[in-house]
């Protein structure tokens, strides 16, 4: 009927207006029913919002876990298809490691006599 429940309550409580007792009772009941309906609708809206939030959160969590697992299980692709080429690269890598270590090893070798002398003196 589109009438504000508050207004209906006012009319029901207005003693200057003489209305049949049954009508007064019916207006009061209708006003209360409208209030209850509004409360129920609010509860349902809140419940729907909670369920949607939970669903969205679950999907996001599952996607994160899937992403984590995928990154851990996948392996890169071999650079070479030919084992001979891979072998050549391995050789080049060991040569590179050796060349880089050379200065450090030479330095260590050059101080070795000094270190030996120092240890000998300390132990005497």
């Amino acid at each position: 009927m589109g009438m504000d429940p508050g207004r209906l309550t006012e009319i029901a409580q207005d003693s200057s207006i003489r209305v049949p007792e049954t009508l007064k009772h019916d207006i009061g009941v209708t006003a209360r029913a409208l209030e209850l309906l509004e409360e129920k609708q609010s509860e349902e809206t809140a419940r729907h919002r909670r369920y949607f939030g939970l669903a969205a959160g679950s999907v996001a969590a599952a996607a994160s876990i899937a992403l984590l697992l995928a990154s851990g299980l996948s392996y890169p692709k071999d650079t070479f298809k030919d084992p001979a080429l891979a072998y050549a690269q391995l050789e080049e890598t060991f040569n590179l490691i050796g060349s880089k270590m050379n200065p450090g090893l030479e330095m260590a070798q050059s101080v070795q006599p000094m270190l030996d002398n120092t240890i000998t003196k300390v132990l005497k």
Binding site: D78, F80, T93, F94, G98, G104
Partner: protein, 161 residues
């Protein structure tokens, strides 16, 4: 919802924690050259002819059979180098790799890290930071006999001057 958002952020923004992750993160970047050899490829190498490391013939078949992966990354971009250095630092700290050697020579810093025990090397990492000329990351993983590995590297170091 908030927990899921945090998990997603951790996935995307996490530092690379393994050599594989570092390779995956940087191998396709600009100004980066990268090499990966898998366990399957090492097995395919099979019975190898003598491999010349330096100027001497060395039979590396035993070492090759014990290798599971090799990653090599060479980078020349300053910004990428900075990120990669941070990831390598994180890797060596998280996995508690032992710093075996650090040498500085003519502006280049070489660091070698290993993980394993007296007889076996499970992880060998070398980084070469040459400032403007670039940054190199080498990782070897497997169950390498320590003595064999040291012999090969020592021969390579002696004969390359």
């Amino acid at each position: 919802m908030a927990i899921a958002a945090v998990m997603l952020l951790l996935t995307v923004g996490a530092n690379a924690q393994t050599a594989k992750e570092i390779y995956s993160k940087y191998s396709d970047s600009e100004n980066v050259s990268a090499v990966y050899i898998s366990s399957a490829m090492f097995k395919l190498m099979g019975k190898l002819p003598s491999m010349s490391v330096g100027n001497e013939d060395v039979n590396l078949s035993a070492l090759v059979k014990s290798l599971q992966s090799m990653y090599v990354i060479d980078c020349e971009d300053d910004e990428t180098i900075a990120q990669m250095k941070a990831d390598v630092k994180s890797l060596t700290q998280k996995r508690k790799l032992e710093l075996l050697m650090e040498a500085k020579d003519e502006g280049e810093t070489i660091r070698i890290f290993t993980q394993g025990d007296e007889d076996t090397v499970e992880s060998f990492i070398m980084t070469a930071d040459d400032g403007e000329d670039g940054y190199t990351f080498i990782s070897l993983e497997g169950t390498m006999n320590r003595a064999d590995l040291e012999k090969v590297i020592a021969k390579a170091a002696k004969t390359i001057q």
